[in-house]
């Protein structure tokens, strides 16, 4: 594969039991319209399943949509599993209903960004272009 010509590959994941997939689907389409390759996991994935898909699909980043309130468990768990399985250079970011005071704690665990309600799809796409580099694939 010619590294320079490769498109950014993003996994859009719904993790946990939360069935609210409106945001995940919107962001997946916005990423696709922005020219990224998008892998959408579908609903009700465990952190293990999301991480397995991310590694198998050689994605550059994992974006999680969480509206269930379980973000303080699920984000760090996905990061931990990525590290364990050799995907430590895969960036993790996401969005959902996340109270402001929880965001510094999530960033400290290695989450690159957390987008909350009201963020425009353009602002998320711009952030991805600025902050998610193409990984060197082995």
């Amino acid at each position: 594969m010619v590294g320079d010509a490769r498109k950014l590959r993003l996994l859009v994941g719904k993790v946990g039991l939360d069935g609210h997939d409106r945001g995940a689907k919107i962001i997946a389409r916005a990423f696709r319209d922005a020219g990224f390759e998008v892998i959408y996991t579908g609903l009700h994935q465990t952190p293990e399943q999301v991480v397995a898909t991310a590694i198998q699909e050689d994605v550059d980043a994992v974006s999680l949509s969480i509206l269930s309130g379980a973000h303080n468990y699920l984000f760090p768990r996905v990061i931990e599993l990525l590290r364990e399985r050799g995907g430590e250079d895969i960036a993790v970011f996401g969005g959902g209903i996340v109270p402001d005071e929880d965001i510094p704690g999530l960033l400290a665990t290695g989450v690159k960004a957390v987008f909350t309600p009201g963020a425009s799809t353009e602002s998320v796409v711009e952030w991805v272009r600025a902050h998610i580099p193409l990984r060197a694939l082995g």
Binding site: L17, R22, I26, P99
Partner: protein
């Protein structure tokens, strides 16, 4: 000068005059918009008479106000029981229960997928032991209880029956509503266990059981709410909900039930979004379409089967985390639309819901909003005050026609179950939701405080947090219940349920015995999997 706009439009602002769902709205409506054949007798009728466009009761709110029913549920059964008592003491007239995600998916609190989610978005219920605490001190013959539960609805309903048994209350005295609308789960809310067709059997079993044993219970609340929250238009919400209703009625008839034995216990649940007149038109059109469907398609003339009764909730998805007090104004407009649309009961959202579960202060303001509409605004004094408005009638006709076009397409696919299996409603909603988001991003649709009039660094209100201790306490109670139950009775009860799933017997009596034996939601739900299988969604983007 010609700027490309219609004559006279030069004096108008250069924006698209459309509803939030993008229906075009004209500058002025007159009798011409209704067409030469438009007959009030045929299109409207009298309130309380076919086709019920003006309402299902002749006196509407002069006779009885809508039920003010605030959805509540969080943390442990003890927390939610406390909130129930608080709401009843403050004048609420019905209970409405929110369950946590593991419960909604038929999973126990100690299941691996439940980690981090126990008690977070609703109350955790694993066994009858939790349900006994949830309704402690609440005489079940004196309240009506709504329970928002779908895939494991029959299990939770059996728990409610078992609590009533323990209180010494006959099942015939129980009043309430089970959401039990599995079709909209596949379409929008996405909390399922089994595939659609076996799920329909549980529902028809429950309809048959209730028509004999719990005659005052609303067995299904056919829900557009979640369809709208998933991003549908108003027309899609209406069409997909009524198409689901048609599928349930057909399933009941196919199961050998007589339509007038179960149809009167079907109720509906709609969203009330920001676009005031579009919502009113939607609710009026809903009644008219349903009355025609029940009469013309299912051949009933019983008014109890023809009348579409519904609950309304204001639109959670319209609320903003930014400048949260603005949500009080949104909820007021939405609640007023629901009332002018003739709702039978109403939940008003709390202003802090885009941030977290509602605080007690926010819940109180939401309830007070309803009380102000009911007792100060004067809108309850007359029936269907907007009936006969050229605009409202033209918009009602438009929404009805567009919804009927969708229903015809779904019929052509072989009905709603077939449409779901091919991803049709899912795709339509995803398209509408993306279209709207793009309009918001481009500033074509306004969200005050988000894409216009935004301010930086505003204060946030106090929000309710669910501690980690809830999960630990729930796990401890579940373990204690498992250790303390009669193992032989538990085994026998689950074996009987497995056998009935295969034999085709009505599942509810065996399920009730499982509940009495303190079998858990997951144990009971899983007992049906060998016969029913599990559902895997084909994701449509």
């Amino acid at each position: 000068m010609n700027d490309g706009r219609p004559k006279g439009a030069r004096n108008e602002r250069p924006i698209a005059f459309t509803t939030v769902s993008d229906l075009p709205i004209e500058r002025l409506y007159t009798g011409k918009d209704l067409g030469p054949d438009w007959s009030p007798a045929e299109r409207l009728g009298e309130p309380g008479e076919f086709p019920y466009t003006r309402g299902i009761h002749p006196t509407m709110y002069r006779g009885r106000l809508w039920t003010m029913r605030q959805f509540a549920g969080f943390g442990s059964a003890e927390h939610t029981n406390e909130r129930f008592h608080y709401l009843l003491e403050h004048g609420q007239t019905g209970l409405s229960t929110a369950f946590d995600l593991p419960t909604l998916m038929g999973r126990d609190s100690d299941d691996a997928l439940a980690r981090g989610e126990v008690g977070r978005e609703g109350v955790a219920v694993d066994t009858l032991a939790d349900m006994e605490i949830l309704f402690r001190g609440i005489p079940l013959d004196r309240v009506s209880t709504s329970m928002t539960i779908n895939a494991p609805a029959a299990v939770i309903f059996c728990m409610y029956l078992a609590v009533a048994e323990k209180q010494g209350i006959p099942s015939a005295a129980l009043e309430g509503t089970l959401q039990n609308d599995i079709l909209k789960e596949y379409i929008a809310q996405k909390e399922w266990i089994y595939p659609p067709r076996p799920s329909m059997r549980i529902i028809t079993d429950l309809m048959a059981f209730c028509s004999r044993e719990v005659p005052k219970w609303n067995t299904i609340s056919i829900s557009g709410y979640h369809i709208r929250e998933a991003g549908s238009t108003a027309v899609q919400e209406l069409a997909f909900t009524l198409a689901d209703g048609i599928a349930y009625v057909q399933a009941g008839i196919d199961a050998g039930l007589s339509v007038d034995d179960f149809a009167p216990r079907l109720s509906f649940f709609f969203n009330s979004h920001n676009d005031f007149f579009e919502e009113i038109a939607k609710l009026r059109a809903a009644r008219r379409i349903w009355a025609h469907v029940m009469r013309d398609r299912f051949g009933t003339t019983s008014p109890r089967s023809l009348k579409l009764r519904f609950h309304t909730q204001t639109a959670g998805c319209s609320l903003t985390a930014q400048q949260p007090l603005n949500n009080v104004a949104r909820v007021t407009v939405q609640a007023l639309a629901a009332v002018l649309g003739g709702t039978q009961s109403l939940h008003t959202d709390s202003f802090d819901e885009a941030l977290a579960l509602p605080s007690e202060q926010a819940v109180t303001v939401a309830l007070r909003t309803q009380q102000i509409l009911a007792e100060e605004s004067g809108v309850v004094n007359t029936v269907d005050p907007l009936g006969g408005s050229y605009f409202v009638e033209a918009l009602t006709d438009r929404v009805e026609a567009d919804a009927l076009a969708y229903i015809r397409r779904i019929d052509e696919m072989g009905g709603m179950i077939a449409a779901i299996e091919r991803g049709f409603p899912q795709k339509e909603i995803a398209d509408a939701s993306y279209h709207y988001q793009r309009q918001v991003d481009r500033g074509e649709k306004t969200i005050v405080g988000v894409n216009r009039y935004a301010v930086e660094g505003q204060g946030k209100p106090e929000i309710l947090k669910i501690g980690e201790d809830v999960e630990q306490a729930q796990l401890a109670r579940l373990a204690a219940t498992r250790a303390g139950r009669d193992a032989a009775r538990w085994t026998r009860a689950l074996e009987k349920l497995r056998a009935d799933a295969v034999s085709g017997a009505n599942l509810i009596p065996a399920m009730l015995e499982c509940v009495r034996a303190y079998a858990s939601v997951q144990e009971i739900s899983q007992a049906l999997v060998p016969a029913f299988g599990t559902y895997q969604e084909v994701s449509v983007l």
